[in-house]
Amino acid sequence: MAGDSTPMLLSGNHAVAWGVRLARPHVIPVYPITPQTPILEKITEFHSAGEITAEVIAPESEHSAMSACITASLTGSRVFTATSSQGLLLMHELLHYAAGARAPIVMVNVNRTVASPWAFWPDQTDSLSQRDTGWVQLYTESPQESIDTVIQAFRIAEEIGMPVMVNHDAFYVSHAMESVEVPSQACVNDFLPEYSIPNMLDPDRGQSFGAPVDQATYNRVRREMGEALNNAFTACDSAHSAWMELTGRNYGVIEEYRTDGAELVLVTLGSMAGTAREAVDALREQGHSVGLVKVRLFRPFPNDQVIEALKGIANVIVLDRNYSPGLGGILHQEIKAALYGLQDGPKVHGLLAGVGGVNVTPAKIQELVLRYADNDPVVASIWVE
């Protein structure tokens, strides 16, 4: 039966490798970096055992890895890569290029602090600082969500013809070993059709990508790229409902947790959503009407879904484990922009909580909610300890 699955004790990174194995990509150019390396290690282990038949390429840098991804993708190959932090930043130039060339690459980024100073802690500044490159960005909370999302990402990328980046937090997800339902090959085959893209590089056809263009053509191509990216909303919805039917696990572009009747709603990304659920339950038990919105799809940004979830809420507290110097928390800014102009919109408080991997416990989140709920919001994000 397609819905069959096997429970395994896997880390988030090994769950990703299992997702890649089941999605059967053709080419995997990948360069190691802490804390992504276990993804590469598991993929090469599968490869040497003949369980992944893809061509695995180990170039001399992440820049070259992404170059190889783009060209392989444009020849009609299903392509996967993974990186983290400095590796993602070294790819920056080619992230724009991949989106412009409409190469449906799937990449997992393990969210880790960016240098300087040098560190290995969970922090989402690496991927959030790539938000303008044209990639779809998804953020996951657990190893289970990571394997499911990697498989979904291939379908979304190939349906809309745009690259997709799946992000999970260093250590709390990447190295967290827990029970993961690994779907059967039959289930993934049902979900993910054979890969074919219409415009591929082919020696038998005189066609090239990336030629110099005039202003009007550039303008038109960028608009078309934006439209393609916005198709991610319907592609995500369709992938989510098909996956729900096959596995019973449901994800949305955002997720609302106990927001019914809430007066205050926490908003966050990635692994902190799990910790926030505990805080919400504890606060509800104490009689506080608190809920949670997890933003799973960050690009394109789900403005309509966020407005729908937060209209009528008195207070919103955004928890950002990232920092844009001179601006503040990046999710805080996005939420304010989404809610701007809304009649009687919520008061939005932005808290920089957990930047650099500083520990944020359920008790800490409870304390922050009680401390900031009655304050008047300020424009800037607030550093909290």
Binding site: E141, S179, M272, G274, T275
Partner: protein
């Protein structure tokens, strides 16, 4: 929820110990979450391996602030470890030839010592103390079950399976007496 912290120095096997213990609780039907953090990918720096065990799914994703039980691979780490993660109720198993009284100056803690190296060497394991310390920890804590732990050690030990099992069993018996007198 049982919150366990295993601390050692990079290369000593704290991360592996966390994974093996997680496997054992998982085999017993518990929900587990384990992850290790390290300040740098180098031998010799402190490595924390966190393990959460519960009867329901574990949702939080953060480090432990107060551990219910600690397994310490290196007693030179003990002062910092105790002040940061332990209180009077924390069960602390430390790899050391010394007696628990030797650590009285660190404060009022529930410390059990186990001569991991001695047991490992006696059973032909050289300086590989992982199996001995896991046996000692399970004995002192009263869980997970020795049968399941030995099954996991047997499945995962890359070489010297009988020696690993013997180390695990001997250390378990030594600390189990402590567990029994405690209850």
């Amino acid at each position: 929820m049982l919150e366990i912290l295993i601390q050692g120095r990079g290369g000593q096997g704290a991360q592996t110990a966390g994974n093996l213990l997680a496997r054992t609780f998982f085999a017993e039907g518990k929900f587990v979450q384990t992850f290790a953090t390290y300040g740098g990918a180098r031998r010799g720096t402190p490595v924390n391996s966190f393990l959460l065990v519960d009867d329901k799914p574990i949702r939080r994703r953060c480090s432990i602030e107060r551990a219910g039980a600690i397994l310490c691979f290196d007693d030179s780490l003990l002062p910092g470890l105790l002040s940061q993660f332990a209180d009077r109720d924390t069960l602390v198993v430390v790899n050391s030839r010394r007696s628990p009284e030797a650590y009285e100056s660190l404060g009022d803690y529930k410390i059990i010592t186990i001569d991991g190296i001695g047991i490992a060497q006696k059973n032909g394991m050289g300086r590989i103390i992982n199996s001995a310390l896991l046996g000692a920890f399970a004995g002192a804590l009263g869980q997970p079950s020795m049968a399941k732990l030995k099954q996991v050690v047997e499945e995962t030990a890359p070489v010297k399976k009988p020696e690993n099992l013997a180390s695990c069993q001997e250390a378990y018996e030594l600390t189990q007496e402590v567990f029994e007198t405690r209850i």
